[in-house]
């Protein structure tokens, strides 16, 4: 077996120069087949084979570096409509990628058509501490009956928190629905862990929205109008259409 493989980043219908290094510092090149272009790198299987990956995927530094490199290439390629491919998709050689483009060309073209003239935006909504799993206050209350006082405060706190949670969930649904009406397509993703999001607040919404380029400003304005009253709404992007280039496995 060869000691190198072909790492696939993205598929597009138009080639643009990619001047950033790929994963593991490898140069990025393109493979063309029919109407499609694949962005690839030659990678050493000593790093991207099964056994090395098994270990390195558990190494957050390696994963972060590789994810960023992958993402950089996708972003460069995304100056034109692009279908990003899942991280660490490694083929035996270029021929297999050619074969992929031959066999699934129609599907790729359909996916690319869907995202043409549109961009993905990320919207996250955070609730203030009141709605999240806030700490129960431990001071104050009746000093003569600390136990009863504690339980009563605890109950109040839980009730208040539950109510705040319900309100926040409703609010998130409203925000998502409003944004979805303006978008061509939308997805609600799993909320991020605070250690990944970098925010301590409770993430109510982690949405992705595919928006016509001409409506970008309108979308951003709408995002801005949906925050307030203890809910912080944040916009990220534009992203390559990661959330809207789903190809059925097969």
């Amino acid at each position: 077996m060869s000691d190198s493989g072909t790492y696939l980043y993205a598929v597009a219908s138009e080639s643009v120069p990619v001047d950033v290094p790929g994963v593991a510092g490898t140069p990025v090149r393109t493979l063309t087949r029919g109407a499609l272009v694949a962005y690839v790198s030659t990678v050493p299987l000593a790093e991207f084979g099964e056994e090395p990956l098994r270990h390195s995927l558990e190494d957050l530094d390696w994963l972060a570096e590789t994810a960023r490199a992958h993402h950089r290439v996708v972003e460069e390629a995304a100056r034109v409509p692009v279908a990003p491919v899942r991280l660490v998709t490694v083929y035996a050689d270029d021929d297999q990628v050619h074969e992929l483009l031959d066999r699934r060309g129609e599907e790729f073209l359909a996916v690319l058509f869907h995202v043409t003239g549109r961009r993905e935006w990320g919207v996250k909504a955070y609730a203030g501490q009141a709605a999240g799993p806030a700490a129960t206050p431990v001071n104050g209350g009746d000093p003569g009956r600390p136990g009863t006082s504690y339980l009563s405060r605890r109950r109040e706190s839980l009730r208040g928190r539950e109510q705040a949670r319900r309100l926040a969930v409703t609010r998130a649904e409203h925000i998502h629905a409003s944004l979805s009406r303006l978008a061509v397509a939308s997805r609600r993703h799993r909320a991020q862990d605070p250690r990944l999001s970098g925010h301590d607040e409770w993430m109510l919404l982690n949405g992705a929205y595919l928006v016509d380029v001409g409506r970008d400003e309108e979308f951003a304005a709408l995002v801005g109008s949906l925050g307030g009253d203890g809910v912080d709404v944040r916009l990220t992007g534009p992203w390559a259409p990661y959330s809207f280039t789903v190809l059925e496995p097969g």
């Binding site: 279908a83 993703h189 862990d193 992203w239």
Partner: protein, 123 residues
């Protein structure tokens, strides 16, 4: 379209637009969830690395899932995640997935595989 051209391990605003109020730059979490959990999956097409990719798919899903799991359990994300450090449990998951895949490929007649999978289900 204006674009910044510097490279390096920094997250760039893709279109060189200064973030207005409410706009935040892409963080590692945003990037990880996109490259790991979204985008085109064509694992089934990968001939030589079929097994590798099957294993990876499971692992990547676990990495994403573990974010929630870790939070619920109140443990340190990543390093102490039971899915990742519990080697046995992880192997069972890998086995299960691979056996299911094998069974799908080889047809339902392969009772041995089904039987062994059932034996591991509650581990």
């Amino acid at each position: 379209m204006e674009r910044m051209t510097q490279s390096g391990p920094v997250v760039r605003q893709p279109y060189g637009v200064a973030p207005p109020g409410g706009r935040e730059p892409a963080n590692l979490g945003d990037i990880l969830e996109r490259v790991l959990d979204r985008g085109v999956v064509i694992a089934g097409d990968i001939r030589v690395n079929l097994l590798d990719i099957e294993l990876l798919t499971i692992k990547l899903r676990l990495l994403i899932a573990s974010v929630d799991t870790a939070r619920e359990l109140g443990i340190d994300w990543w390093e102490h995640d039971p899915w990742l450090s519990g080697r046995d449990r992880e192997l069972v998951e890998e086995n299960r997935r691979l056996r299911r895949r094998l069974a799908a490929v080889e047809g339902p007649a392969d009772l041995d595989i089904g039987h062994r999978e059932a034996g591991h289900r509650d581990v």
